[in-house]
């Protein structure tokens, strides 16, 4: 679907949603990845996990539905779908860390050419670190998808040879969805699987990471 315009956040989310197989068990990270839920097709049977102890989480609660005991990992009130189940935190993270989730979708500051992920801490002096479940998610799911803009505001790429930010996980990212291109991180290198509003040549020019044409 290569095209001549960059993707909006919704379009990126739709693209991720299309790559999630029906019936998958999926954890959507806080922030942009949450958008993916809106683009899962009706009847896909995709089951959403939230690490604070629930499977088959439903959409965000509307005003009349808010229940303070029913929130997602971002502490947003959510709803319960038929077939939902609840479990405690150790069981929930055992589920993640034991490799039972099919897909998790995460935001990122940086992804390296070998799939290292940096998404929890800028390392800036004075910044208070907070990690939450990011490190558990990064290493746990069968497939880890990252959604991010390919370039930072100052134009520097976020797909890099080596992460300069503190790592969340080593070699854990499988696929990267950005506004201008999608990438598979493979043992043969970083494969460009699609481009949007950028040419392959411009991409290779702007990234230090060696690319493989998909």
């Amino acid at each position: 679907m290569s095209r001549d315009q960059a993707l909006s956040k919704d379009e990126m989310a739709a693209l991720v949603a299309k790559d999630i197989a029906p019936g998958s068990f999926v954890n959507l990270g806080i922030g942009q990845p949450t958008l993916v839920a809106d683009f899962l097709p009706e009847g896909s049977g995709v089951v959403l996990h939230t690490e604070n102890g629930m499977l088959n989480m439903g959409p965000a609660a509307t005003e009349g539905e808010v229940d303070p005991d029913l929130i997602n990992a971002g502490k947003i009130p959510v709803t319960e779908l038929p077939g939902a189940s609840y479990f405690h935190h150790a069981d929930s993270f055992a589920m993640m860390r034991g490799g039972h989730l099919d897909v998790c979708v995460l935001g990122a500051f940086q992804v390296s050419a070998t799939g290292d992920l940096a998404n929890w801490h800028t390392g800036a002096p004075g910044a208070i670190p907070a990690v939450g479940g990011a490190m558990d998610l990064a290493i746990g799911a069968k497939s880890v998808f990252v959604m991010m803009g390919l370039f930072a505001k100052d134009g520097t790429p976020k797909l890099v040879l080596d992460c300069t930010y503190p790592l969340t996980g080593v070699g854990c990212v499988d696929r990267v969805y950005t506004d201008v291109a999608t990438f598979d991180i493979t043992s043969d290198g970083v494969v460009v699987t699609d481009t949007f509003g950028i040419s392959y040549d411009e991409l290779t020019d702007r990234l230090e990471v060696p690319l493989v044409r998909g």
Binding site: V47, G83, M95, R97, G98
Partner: protein
């Protein structure tokens, strides 16, 4: 991936391969997946490693699987029982290998497999023959033995009810090893008395969430 509701136990176990490690639930007859074991005998896979609390009772179920010579190795906590004559005979004849594991280690090692734990320092068995040759370490003044996960290719679990999504509940002490085995196997097959519509099980009382269940069959 989505659970498959199988029409027969035969369909549910059709792809169990020779050489597989099969986790079999149950403590005595409570929670024993009898139909699945019978189907596995019928199916014919051999050279199996079986992980279960006991090593078969009487002549049916696991005992029958053993009697057919399908089991290369048994990993269990309590093989010797009044009615374990099939295992006893094979063991004495050197025809089946035994790894004897304290019951709590059996459960915790399968939990570790399901939870992504690489190994754990365990208080049970220290200074006994069952820890011989194993790595030990003193932590905070107490000695522990390093124990490793037990993973299964397949888990055969007996339970009470499932919904159509694959969420499972058990009944009383028939719960026993089922929930941990379901987390520790690549493919988990659950035999239930009844499949109900999705939404009929209380979300607060589901013991094995659907993520751990691959196939369901009513027995």
């Amino acid at each position: 991936m989505r659970v498959r509701i199988c029409a027969t136990a035969a369909e549910a176990v059709a792809d169990v391969a020779d050489g597989a490690t099969v986790l079999i639930g149950g403590f005595g007859m409570a929670g024993m997946p009898v139909q699945l074991i019978d189907a596995l005998i019928e199916q014919g896979a051999g050279d199996l490693t079986v992980v279960s609390n006991n090593a078969g009772n009487g002549d049916a179920g696991l005992a029958a699987l053993l009697a057919k010579g399908r089991v290369r190795k048994v990993i269990c906590s309590f093989p010797r029982q009044q009615d374990s004559w099939v295992f006893d005979g094979l063991y004495r004849a050197g025809k089946v290998e035994l790894e004897l594991v304290p019951q709590g280690n059996l459960a915790e090692r399968m939990r570790a497999a399901g939870a992504g734990i690489g190994a754990f320092f365990c208080p049970t068995g220290v200074g006994t023959p069952l820890a011989e040759g194993k790595e030990t370490r003193e932590i905070d003044g107490r000695t522990y033995v390093l124990e490793y996960p037990i993973r299964g290719d397949v888990a055969l679990v007996g339970a009470h009810r499932a919904d159509r999504m694959g969420n499972v509940v058990y009944r009383k002490t028939a719960r026993n090893f089922g929930p941990v085995m379901a987390t520790a196997a690549t493919t988990t097959i659950v035999q239930v008395a009844e499949v109900v519509e999705t939404g009929e099980l209380d979300p607060e009382a589901i013991v094995t969430p659907s993520i751990y269940v691959d196939r369901i069959v009513t027995g």
